[in-house]
């Protein structure tokens, strides 16, 4: 089995990536045409990788489950993208972005990867502007910036509240150009069902066409998974309905290690849940915390009156409002990192100060910003977010404060990759949210877009080429004439038959919702040994029930949405257990992972002596306990400290 070699290049932190690029192996242009690359997923990481590799001369095949590559869930990112440009002259630098990201991640990410991320961040902004991405600008015509959580500088570039959309459409336009030129073969409405490994190397994938139901195989010299995060294991999340962890789980079962699965981000500012029929949660961008002030009533009787609808927020005078983030963390105030903001919201609600009819909400108030800046400025900055909030809740956030509550948003954990973004399976790479690499135990706001595009535009084009430098002699394989491909295809078909044959009583959503409840209650914002052990048992029972009692109507041939969902939920039922196991073994609190046993004066207590490592899980077979491998984190360039968001120094 593969060893965990992170392959960090030698040299000073600042020189590692430069050294890597200067010494890497290249493929000559004539040989690039002989090489096929598969990219699964067309979000920021996938689309940018597919476009860049095709521009270089490789032959690319790209796959997505949506009807168009333009719809991947990167599109829903609202707030912005970080870069160390220091245009506002407020003291930013590559080092500071690197440092903030490592610290924000609670010292559980690799130094070299994060430094590279900060280093290429500036190139991303240049690239996007060149593509025609309409970033917000000042009246002088130069780019505008704003602040995000966990930073004391303004380094976030944005396009109104639709930054993810505009960046994705930029990558999609580059991808479209390459499709038009014939360099990328695009397969939409197609789901990856398995990987094909030949002689220890990943050589292709098996797919199901979601319209025709046809199962087929595709060869490539290497495969890149850019399939996003697995937040939907919790059923309710801010992810798209189709977002799933299946590609990652298929890779895991084929030998790719799964790193830090318990590190899941719970975003503090989402619209609270309102009913059992609810299908998803909607995020309100973190950028709102620039101008919105978070509070709950100081008096329990006020909270009760608010819950019963006997009082409105505007009835509570300023002196009776507890701006708990501003008071507890004066240096960062409302802009503390997400994990800190989420935990504090939960703490206040659990203590009986929550608002909304459920008691599970806090206020995010723009009254003060409107007084300070005027309604027009607030509207210019957040107009589309306010409109979205109003459409969903039927209340006007210009008049009444927003009500928000934490929700599952992003997964820092993912497929283990080394410095080259290579998984433990040679020839299989993972990029963007699908890998675990850069955010440690907590991701800072506006860093997901940065990482997705860094991986796709500026990392993979180098590291994939390094891998392929001795692969041009490998002749293209015709899957129809290859035993390994045929075997993999048959296994996929058998798996689909097995699902279809169950013909039980309950819909796929029934099981997904049950799983979501277990995950949220027992593997959510506060985790304990008891809750996690309990969760593992419940998930195992639920999984057995699923395989006995799920009902998938219709046929495997042709469009069958329930079959698509069943395939994804079957994987979630395994992934949920893996998350719980990882959370159980990590008996410390770090970033988004909070163990109730590990705290100090109400704050999370990290245990660097015992847990300063990446936990990477190896699949050992169906219903077998996976094996844990540890990649120690050696901080050579920064001093590991306790995270402090209370004082300025």
């Amino acid at each position: 089995m593969a060893q965990l070699d992170s392959k960090i290049p030698e040299g000073d932190l600042k020189d590692k990536w430069t050294n890597y690029k200067e010494h890497q192996h290249l493929v000559n242009p004539a040989n690039k045409r002989k090489i096929d690359i598969i990219v699964v997923g067309t979000g920021l990481a996938g689309a940018s990788a597919a476009a860049s590799l095709a521009e270089m001369g490789f032959k690319v095949k790209a796959f997505c489950y949506q009807d168009s590559p333009r719809r991947a869930h990167s599109i829903a990112a609202q707030g912005g993208i970080n870069a160390a440009k220091n245009y506002p002259n407020d003291g930013d630098s590559v080092y500071r972005l690197f440092y903030d990201t490592i610290k924000g991640g609670d010292y559980r990410a690799r130094e070299a990867n994060v430094y590279r991320l900060a280093e290429v961040s500036n190139l991303i902004i240049d690239q996007c502007v060149a593509q025609g991405v309409p970033f917000a600008r000042e009246y002088g015509g130069l780019l505008a910036n704003r602040s995000f959580g966990g930073a004391l500088v303004s380094r976030t570039f944005y396009a109104r509240g639709q930054t993810g959309q505009q960046l994705l459409l930029g990558a999609y336009s580059a991808l479209s150009r390459q499709i038009g030129l014939g360099n990328v073969e695009m397969h939409s409405r197609t789901e990856m069902m398995d990987l094909v490994i030949i002689d220890g190397r990943c050589r292709g994938i098996v797919t199901r066409n979601l319209i025709t139901g046809e199962v087929s195989s595709h060869f490539a010299h290497c495969v890149i998974l850019a399939t996003g995060g697995y937040g939907n294991v919790y059923f309710l999340s801010t992810n798209a309905m189709g977002s799933n962890g299946s590609a990652a789980m298929k890779a895991y079962r084929k030998g790719a290690y799964f790193a830090n699965p318990c590190m899941v981000q719970i975003h503090p500012t989402c619209i609270p849940q309102h009913g059992d029929y609810q299908s998803k949660l909607t995020l309100m961008s973190e950028s709102l915390r620039n101008d919105g002030r978070i509070w709950v009533p100081k008096k329990k009787e006020d909270a009760e009156a608010l819950r019963k609808g006997l009082k409105k927020a505007s009835d509570i005078p300023d002196e009776d409002r507890y701006f708990y983030l501003e008071e507890r963390y004066p240096a960062f105030g409302n802009l503390v990192p997400r994990d800190v903001a989420s935990r504090n919201a939960k703490e206040r609600c659990d203590a009986g100060f929550g608002v909304n009819s459920t008691g599970n909400a806090v206020f995010l108030d723009f009254k003060y910003a409107i007084e300070r800046l005027g309604k027009n400025v607030v509207e210019q900055r957040y107009g589309n977010l306010f409109q979205m909030y109003q459409k969903i809740t039927d209340t006007d956030p210009y008049k009444e404060p927003m009500m928000i509550y934490p929700a599952i948003h992003y997964t820092m954990g993912g497929i283990w990759v080394d410095y080259e973004l290579s998984t433990t399976i040679p020839g299989l790479f993972a990029a963007g949210e699908a890998n675990f690499s850069d955010h440690g135990a907590n991701r800072l706001g506006a860093s997901a877009l940065m990482q997705g595009l860094a991986d796709g535009y500026f990392v993979l084009p180098y590291t994939v080429q390094e891998y392929l430098a001795d692969q041009f002699n490998v002749k293209r394989i015709n899957p129809k004439e290859n035993a390994e491909f045929q075997k993999a295809e048959k296994e996929v078909k058998d798996y689909i038959d097995k699902l279809m044959k169950i013909n039980g009583k309950h819909s796929v959503d029934h099981f997904h919702k049950e799983l979501g409840k277990v995950m949220w209650n027992d593997v959510g914002m506060a985790r304990s040994k008891e809750s996690l052990e309990d969760a593992i048992k419940k998930i195992q029972t639920l999984r057995a029930e699923f395989w006995k009692d799920v009902k998938i109507p219709g046929s495997k041939d042709g469009l069958n949405v329930e079959l698509e969902k069943a395939n994804r939920v079957a994987d979630f039922l395994e992934l949920g257990e893996l998350i719980a196991r990882d959370a159980l073994h990590r008996n410390e609190s770090c970033g988004g992972h909070f163990r109730v046993e590990s705290q100090e004066e109400g704050e999370a207590k990290r245990d660097d002596d015992n847990f300063m490592y990446v936990g990477a899980w190896e699949y050992k077979g169906e219903n077998q306990a996976p094996e844990l491998h540890k990649e120690p984190l050696n901080y050579q360039f920064i001093k590991v400290q306790k995270r402090n968001y209370k004082t300025g120094k």
Binding site: R70, Q127, A130, A159, M241, Y277, K280, T282, N356, P553
Partner: protein, 256 residues
């Protein structure tokens, strides 16, 4: 959340069509106790759970959706004769049941446009929009070797107007609403966004010509300025962009 949510009992008249070449027809279903706080698609989820439970011969209703927050452009649906239903400036997934009354009969149809063939029930094939984008909806720039992002100042009003156009989500409501089945609003949004920015200017005329030619080739109709597209666009993309497209298109033809 808003006070006083209510429950609705509704009759749904839904277009069912087994496949692209199959004969379609309306079928009626009833759903009960739908909360006014639920979204329209959550109401459709409830209908589908019901159809699975009762083993309905047509199975659950197929419809496109993904992000459910109004940005991916995957959801569609004509609801009571309007693209994205009876509310303005939103997509179907953002429509909430409080817009309906107890006892309502709601008619639900797919996009009906020559350019968007039906795949199943309410799901249509919008790959034509991707093909139009592939014909020219980009700046011909490859990764790397580009100037600093602040090298070229762009006047804020131009950047803002480009952003207005770039807000297009490619959902297809414009072509589905247009009596001519024209995709001009979609095409103009991209042409206009890129023509407004210095980075896109070099290819502006060429881009307009290539995208319009592809639109024509794919069977979309011509624009007769009825303005219906602008009215139904969930992102309020203005038909003034069609005027800019026409100017760029004219320039390209004058040059030829």
């Amino acid at each position: 959340m808003a006070e006083g949510h209510k429950s609705l009992n509704l009759t749904l008249k839904v277009w069912r069509q087994a496949g692209r070449n199959a004969q379609g027809q309306f079928k009626e279903y009833t759903v009960k106790d739908i909360s006014t706080e639920a979204s329209f698609l959550e109401m459709m989820d409830i209908l589908n759970e019901q159809l699975i439970e009762t083993a309905d011969p047509d199975g659950p209703v197929a419809f496109d959706h993904d992000c459910r927050e109004g940005i991916c452009g995957m959801c569609s649906l004509f609801i009571n004769g309007r693209a994205h239903g009876p509310d303005d400036d939103i997509t179907t997934c953002q429509l909430h049941m409080r817009k309906f009354n107890d006892g309502d009969k709601i008619t639900i149809e797919p996009w009906r446009s020559g350019g968007f063939p039906i795949i199943k029930d309410l799901m249509v094939d919008r790959s034509a929009y991707d093909k139009i984008m592939q014909a020219g909806g980009f700046v011909s720039v490859s990764t790397g070797g580009v100037p600093d992002a602040n090298a070229i100042p762009i006047p804020k009003p131009d950047a803002d107007e480009a952003m207005d156009a770039a807000a297009c989500i490619g959902c297809g409501a414009c072509a589905a609403t247009c009596k001519n089945g024209s995709a001009m609003l979609f095409v103009s949004a991209k042409v206009s966004q890129l023509a407004l920015l210095p980075q896109g200017k070099a290819e502006a005329a060429k881009r307009a010509k290539a995208m319009v030619a592809k639109m024509d080739e794919l069977g979309f109709g011509n624009c007769t300025n009825t303005g219906a597209c602008e009215l139904e666009c969930p992102k309020s993309v203005s038909i003034s962009h069609i005027a800019r497209l026409n100017r760029e298109f004219l320039k390209a033809n004058v040059k030829d």
